[in-house]
């Protein structure tokens, strides 16, 4: 069963929800794009239907809602470490299935990798309620069906935006109070076929031919083409690496903070050890490291492909490098290498 709402009653629902929740969705920031007179579509807080951008893929993913670009871990006063407080409100995120799945991928790193849960991640993640934006057409670089991230069933509310008619499946009863409208027959839909299909490599075959794949000449091209700008990793909803950074306040050097900031395996400095040594200096090696993480070793570790097929890396690369093409080349190489 679904509830059908018009814009006004949807806005009323948002208003009611906003008492206890911060509400995030893709938004259009006018004039904030990379080039003059272009807009930036990204995630931001919203208060009404008209704030939500539904026609364009967001350049950045919703990961910053639960994993901010810069996050203060401690405030320092003299010799004390003080943990910052956070807002009491819950978090509602309107997102497409690919991005909802990306939260589960981040969970593996922050909550399951190693012996400890990352408390800073967990305290935001625990607040999240998934409001899925129905996505049946996608965009030209999407390949979520290939990565198995086109569906997300464990939602709180599922929303179909059909011009000014909005239909919701309120699965989590906690939210029923906010939605009032006509009851209608409603079966949520997920995309079943993208314009792009990518065959992912068989990870067992890679394991058996690891050196062959690692030393394959296909990576050399990217030593020449990639400029190590890191945009692909910033836009990626599943990239989770960070660096620690301590600062002191200029006007009061006795106080300061420790922060973590997003880091990128594509960018210089990522592996620098004190004393000057660094690893993967060639950009082709970094590309191999990144691609293998997304489609091979993360899966070996957690049993699920890291990449969710949102295609943002291909959208943002200034050198028109296509992750999709690289994955196909790897699959090809693995299949050919194996039959030899």
């Amino acid at each position: 069963m679904g509830i059908e709402l018009d814009v006004k009653s949807f806005d009323d629902a948002l208003k009611i929800l906003s008492k206890n929740y911060k509400i995030f969705a893709p938004v259009r920031l006018k004039g904030k794009g990379a080039f003059s007179d272009t807009d930036l579509v990204t995630y931001g807080e919203i208060s009404s239907y008209k704030d939500i951008e539904l026609n364009e893929k967001s350049r950045y993913s919703p990961k910053e809602v639960i994993y901010p670009i810069t996050q203060t871990l401690f405030y320092f006063t003299e010799d004390e470490y003080k943990e910052p407080e956070i807002d009491d409100k819950g978090i509602i995120v309107f997102l497409r299935p690919c991005d909802a799945n990306s939260y589960l991928k981040l969970d593996n790193i922050f909550l399951k990798n190693g012996p400890y849960e990352d408390n800073y991640y967990k305290r935001l993640r625990d607040k999240v309620k998934f409001f899925i934006i129905e996505c049946t057409k996608g965009f030209s670089t999407c390949f979520c069906v290939s990565t198995g991230s086109n569906k997300f069933l464990d939602y709180d509310v599922f929303v179909r935006f059909d011009n000014d008619k909005i239909t919701c499946d309120v699965k989590n009863d906690e939210f029923s109070y906010a939605f009032s409208g006509k009851e209608v027959e409603f079966i949520p839909e997920f995309i079943e076929k993208n314009e792009i299909e990518v065959k992912l490599p068989d990870i067992d075959k890679i394991s058996q031919n690891l050196e062959y794949v690692f030393n394959h000449e296909l990576w050399d091209e990217y030593t020449k083409r990639c400029i190590a700008c890191g945009r692909c990793t910033v836009s990626c909803p599943t990239c989770s690496c960070f660096s620690m950074q301590d600062i002191f306040y200029k006007d009061n050097p006795k106080c300061g903070e420790r922060r973590r900031v997003w880091a990128s395996c594509m960018v210089d400095g990522f592996t620098d050890v004190a004393g000057g040594h660094s690893y993967r200096q060639k950009y082709g090696e970094r590309m191999r490291f990144k691609v293998m993480h997304k489609i091979y070793d993360y899966k070996k570790r957690f049993g699920t492909t890291m990449c969710v097929g949102c295609g943002r890396c291909d959208d943002v690369c200034p050198e028109y490098i296509s992750f999709i093409k690289i994955v196909s080349k790897v699959t090809d190489a693995v299949d050919r290498g194996e039959s030899k």
Binding site: E211, A263, V273, A274, Y296
Partner: protein
């Protein structure tokens, strides 16, 4: 919720300069690590860095820290009575239980001696735990030699070979890379000999190959890796080598695993 990034305050009880740029800091602490584990060490407002534990008792731990960056520069400014902030210990150390009653060879290059020093001192206290210990240590030059007093003490009980890459006018000891001395090392029962190799990446690579030539079994060789780390607990991603997190599965690896870590 426990804050996994929250360090504890540890007082510096003494500072022992080893060279111009390497100081050993003794901290009051009851942390009992495995040999080869590391800590995340920080100074508020300056930063945090992974440092291997060079020795410990139930009253203190020792960190031998080289002055090579912002954080370690600031640590070198500290005096006894000041505090460092530490969290850990993290990672997997050397499985010393499996080394009992065997011949052990420890080859360490430069600061690589720090993560294995506590093992040598363990055997120095209980020489009967193993059959025999050979120690090979190499430094760039005589002025880079670490733990000189302790090396002297080890010589009383064990076979110790100290070498420098480049000697000076006053140097009368061995010169040359550690790898040069491996072919002539007295190894009695190579099937039953444990080898520990720690040092710069190239030194480890070639030293391991030399030991293999001597008939040491791959599964009896142990190494320790040094990587950039921001968290030490499998989140930040800096130390990852393909599918392996050095902070979680390492920093100590068996050679059968380490040889597959391709960069």
């Amino acid at each position: 919720m426990t804050n996994v990034y929250m360090p504890i305050k540890a007082e510096i009880v003494s500072i022992i300069p080893q060279t111009d740029i390497d100081y050993t800091f003794r901290l009051k602490s009851d942390i009992l690590p495995q040999h080869g584990q590391f800590l995340q060490v920080s100074i508020p407002k300056i930063g945090e860095a992974p440092i291997s534990i060079s020795d410990y008792t139930d009253e203190y731990i020792e960190l031998t820290i080289r002055k090579v960056g912002t954080v370690t520069d600031a640590i070198h400014e500290l005096k006894p009575g000041d505090f460092l902030f530490i969290r850990g210990p993290y990672g997997h150390g050397f499985p010393v239980e499996d080394f009992k009653n065997k011949n052990v060879v420890i080859a360490a290059g430069g600061t690589g001696l720090a993560p294995v020093k506590s093992i040598i001192n363990r055997y120095n206290r209980n020489p009967k735990e193993i059959k025999k210990l050979n120690i090979l240590v190499g430094f760039k030059s005589p002025k880079d030699i670490l733990f000189e007093d302790e090396i002297k003490k080890w010589k009383e009980k064990f076979d110790v070979l100290l070498t420098v890459d480049n000697g000076d006018e006053t140097w009368k000891g061995n010169t040359g890379l550690i790898t040069k001395f491996i072919p002539d090392l007295k190894i009695e029962n190579s099937d039953d000999t444990i080898v520990i190799v720690v040092g710069p990446p190239m030194m480890m690579k070639f030293a391991c190959l030399e030991f293999l030539k001597r008939g040491i079994l791959e599964e009896n060789i142990w190494v320790s890796f040094e990587r950039k780390m921001s968290c030490g607990i499998g989140k930040c991603g800096h130390c990852k080598i393909n599918e392996t997190y050095v902070c979680l599965e390492g920093p100590v690896f068996n050679y059968t695993k380490s040889k597959q870590l391709l960069d």
